[in-house]
Structure formats: structure tokens, C-alpha cells
Symmetry: C3
Subunit: 139 residues, 3 copies
């Protein structure tokens, strides 16, 4: 099975908070960080997600933002520190690969942002991912 | 009215599950598949969405992921089978057009993914769309 | 602190509607418009968001869709009128800069959409942003 979603981080569910239609699921990643996913309650029930369930977090490249420093006071729940390993620029967009504890992330951001943040191999960055952009798979 | 959102699939609301601030709405598409959208409760109320309401589902190209096979055990609620009709690659990103029952979808994914999945015209794929990425319109 | 997220609009929180795991937060922008963000309840609590809190709304370029006219009967809560100031096209994607009351937005959309909507400097457009795609920061 091949999937276009570039980012897959393995971990174990550490907390499930179910609401009526949505739920937040916290996952402890192999790298030690904890991430929060906001998914439908239906998905939690169908996948049988509970404390201890092994899962992978899937994140599309277009959902990964980058910052040169951690950002305090922000609603975005997930901030993973990493180092840029490569940058590929197109006419409008660019893909930036970032190694983080426990894996690698690809971020598809505007070329403007790459230029402004002076992103090149070796740059220290923080990858930011909104909870609603994280999917979970038990396979 | 012209809209940059590339993907519009017509159907009829088949179920509404309202929560306090969010709601999930299931829509039976013209092609026969059912898709789930997670939108605000406020939108459901304002649009008067209920069983039988004719709607169109709107999905930005950047929100469509592609897989070569259906994926079991995943929180992503929507998986539509289709066939690639064309691929346009840029320096960092690519757009892939996929014909599905009842319409056509455009997926904007990384060029890396197109290469790795060997996506060319005629390839059988599954389009994956997270519920929180689907908008609905009654017009 | 440099951030890849291109769009930042300043305002003041005008309403908070908390659910069990998600919350909707309305923000009155400097330009006068009101926008709705759907974020986790946890973020609302941690940031202490309440009526009158000064915040900035952050929106990734890939989350901004464009229309040539306002769209009635749509679940997308946020529609901001503006004027195109520039367009940069790549092979598959394009970035479009739009001046709105109180700021500037960058939209990363497909090149197909730019061509079809005939987007060039001076074009009047409406920027559409789904509530689940808006993040808030108190800094």
C-alpha cells in the first residue's frame, strides 16, 4: 500500500477525550513527544482507540508549518523541534524535509516562506501542526 | 460565480449528528458513495441542513490525499475509488486529476508522492479526505 | 521569531462558544470583519481566551480559497472581500496575494484555478477560509 501522505509518525495512544461528535486523542510518539489529534468520535469508536493502542499519526505535507523558534500562546497544539535536511523549490511552492525525534517530516510551504525564513539544510526549526490536521491509523 | 476550490461533488444529506459546537453531516453522493463532513453546528443551523437537503461537497485540492489501495483502520472517514486521468508536475508540487463515480477530483500533492506512487493516467487510486476538510453548500 | 504561516490578521475575541472537546471563537478583526475559528477546548482554556482578549488569527496559505463573488448558503464561515495585488505561478500551484481590510492574505491555489478565475492584479475576490483552518495566538 502506497500513500501520498508524506508524514507518518508512530506512537501509542496516551489519552482519549470523547465529545459528542469530535474527540481529541493524545499519542506518545516514538521520539518521546506527545501530539494531539482532533478526529471524529465515530473514528475513535470504529478504530477502538484507547490508552495503549499502537497508532501512526498521518499528516499531509501541506499541513505542516515551520517556525524558527517555539511559539508561546498559540492554539496550535503540536510543535515538534527538528532540523532541516533538504529544500526543493518550485515556482510557487517548496518542500522542506525536517528530521525530528523519531522520524522525518515533509512540509509543503510557499517559496516566499522558505526565502524569508532562510531555510537551508542544517537550520533549526519547529514544525507546527494543528490538531484537526492529524489523522490516525491503527495499521 | 467562479471559485478556486476544484472539487465539487453533488448529493443529498443522509444524516446530521449535531454536537455542541461541531456537527457531522453525512451526504449520499450522486455516484452512490457516502461522505462525512465535520462542520460547525452554526453552519448546520444557518443552512438548515437535514435529511434530504440537496447539497454539494466542496473540497480544496490540497486536502485530497491519494493511495494505491483502500486503507483499513484509519480515522480518515472518506475514501473514494477512482482512476487517474492526468498528472501535471511542478518543481515541488503536482496536481493529479482523478475520475470518481459521479465526478472528478483534483489532488494537489507533492511531486515526491507522484513519483513514489508511480501515478500516471490509468492508475487505480483511492482519494482520501478528512471530514474536517469538507465544506457543504446548498446552492 | 519567523513563521512560515503567511497570513496573520489582528483582532479581539468577541465570543467564545465552548463544547466538550472543540470550541468556536469569534474574533473582530482590525478591518471590522468578524471571523470564526474552530479550535480545541484545551487551547481556549490554556490561552485564557475570553471576550476582549487581543489575538491574531493565523491561516496557512493552502487554506485560503478564492471566489470571484460572495457565496451564499455555504458552511464555510469566513468570507473576506479583497483585491488581488499579485500572482506568482509555478508548474502546478500558484500564490495569489490579496489585500483585505486590515491586512494582506496569501492564497496558495492550483494554477488551473488562477487561469479559470482569470486572477490578475486588480481583480476583486472573496477569500474563503473554513473555521477549522484558523489558529489563534495571543502574542
Amino acid at each position: 500500500m502506497a500513500l501520498s501522505i508524506r508524514n507518518k509518525l508512530s506512537g501509542t495512544v496516551s489519552a482519549v477525550q470523547p465529545g459528542e461528535v469530535m474527540a481529541t486523542v493524545k499519542t506518545r510518539l516514538a521520539g518521546g513527544q506527545e501530539i494531539t489529534a482532533a478526529i471524529t468520535r465515530e473514528a475513535v469508536d470504529e478504530l477502538g482507540l484507547a490508552d495503549g493502542t499502537p497508532v501512526s499519526a498521518l499528516i499531509k505535507s501541506t499541513e505542516v508549518a515551520l517556525s524558527t523558534e517555539p511559539i508561546p500562546g498559540i492554539s496550535i497544539r503540536n510543535q515538534l523541534r527538528g532540523e532541516v535536511t533538504s529544500v526543493a523549490s518550485g515556482g510557487a511552492m517548496a518542500t522542506v524535509k525536517v528530521s525530528v525525534d523519531g522520524g522525518e517530516l515533509t512540509a509543503a510551504i510557499t517559496r516566499d516562506a522558505v526565502d524569508e525564513l532562510k531555510l537551508t539544510a542544517g537550520a533549526q526549526v519547529v514544525a507546527l501542526i494543528k490538531s484537526t490536521e492529524i489523522s490516525l491509523t491503527t495499521v
